[in-house]
């Protein structure tokens, strides 16, 4: 029973990683691609960590897995967010269909205040 559950979780995590890699090719600009990389991959890693903890079934290994997963879930979206912010501020090319740019409006308002 445990074996069935961990097998299903493992294959699901692998498929989520594959979806994330396909999304890196399919979206239209860098900021949209960051959603594919930054959301699906941590979820897949979570599934794989749960499956590995179920399969190994020792307290030491489970604790190490929880620590590694917590670090990944904190740091990976933070890193992706920093990359996207740097890309926006350095003027990477956006998709032409985007009409609403609230961050650009806010930055320009700050510049007009002389802040």
């Amino acid at each position: 029973m445990t074996e069935v559950v961990s097998s299903v979780l493992l294959v699901t995590g692998g498929l989520l990683a594959l979806l994330s890699a396909v999304g890196l090719h399919r979206f239209r600009d860098a900021i949209a691609r960051s959603h594919a990389a930054g959301k699906a991959a941590p979820l897949g890693a979570t599934f794989v960590a749960v499956a590995a903890s179920l399969q190994i079934a020792e307290l030491d290994s489970t604790f190490k897995m929880v620590v590694a997963l917590a670090l990944l879930l904190i740091t990976f979206p933070t890193g992706v967010h920093m990359v996207v912010r740097a890309a926006y501020r350095s003027g990477t090319e956006l998709n032409q269909e985007i009409e609403v740019d609230e961050l650009g409006d806010a930055l320009r308002a700050l510049d007009d205040e002389g802040g």
Partner: protein
């Protein structure tokens, strides 16, 4: 049962890593390459976790912790570089 699942899982990870490397090679800006490299780090972590189940998890779980922290450090460093130099 679980061995079959491990085989399918490693094959899937290999395809995903190939796609990420292709994204790194054919990219139009530096942020795209960093996203591909970040995804490659996560895929490596998932592969290490799958391999740890085969070895009943000894030292390789420590490697998981260290690798995720090093990947975060590299990402932040390159993000700083882009903010200063532009994303060409």
């Amino acid at each position: 049962m679980f061995e079959v699942a491990l085989t399918i899982y490693f094959a899937t990870l290999a395809v995903a890593a190939t796609l990420a490397i292709a994204r790194i090679v054919v990219a139009e800006s530096i942020p795209d390459r960093i996203l591909g490299l970040d995804l490659l780090v996560v895929i490596s972590l998932m592969g290490i976790a799958g391999d740890a189940t085969r070895r009943d998890g000894d030292v390789f779980l420590d490697v998981l912790v260290v690798t995720s922290l090093i990947g975060f450090l590299a990402t932040v460093a390159v993000a700083r570089f882009i903010e200063r130099r532009g994303s060409r």
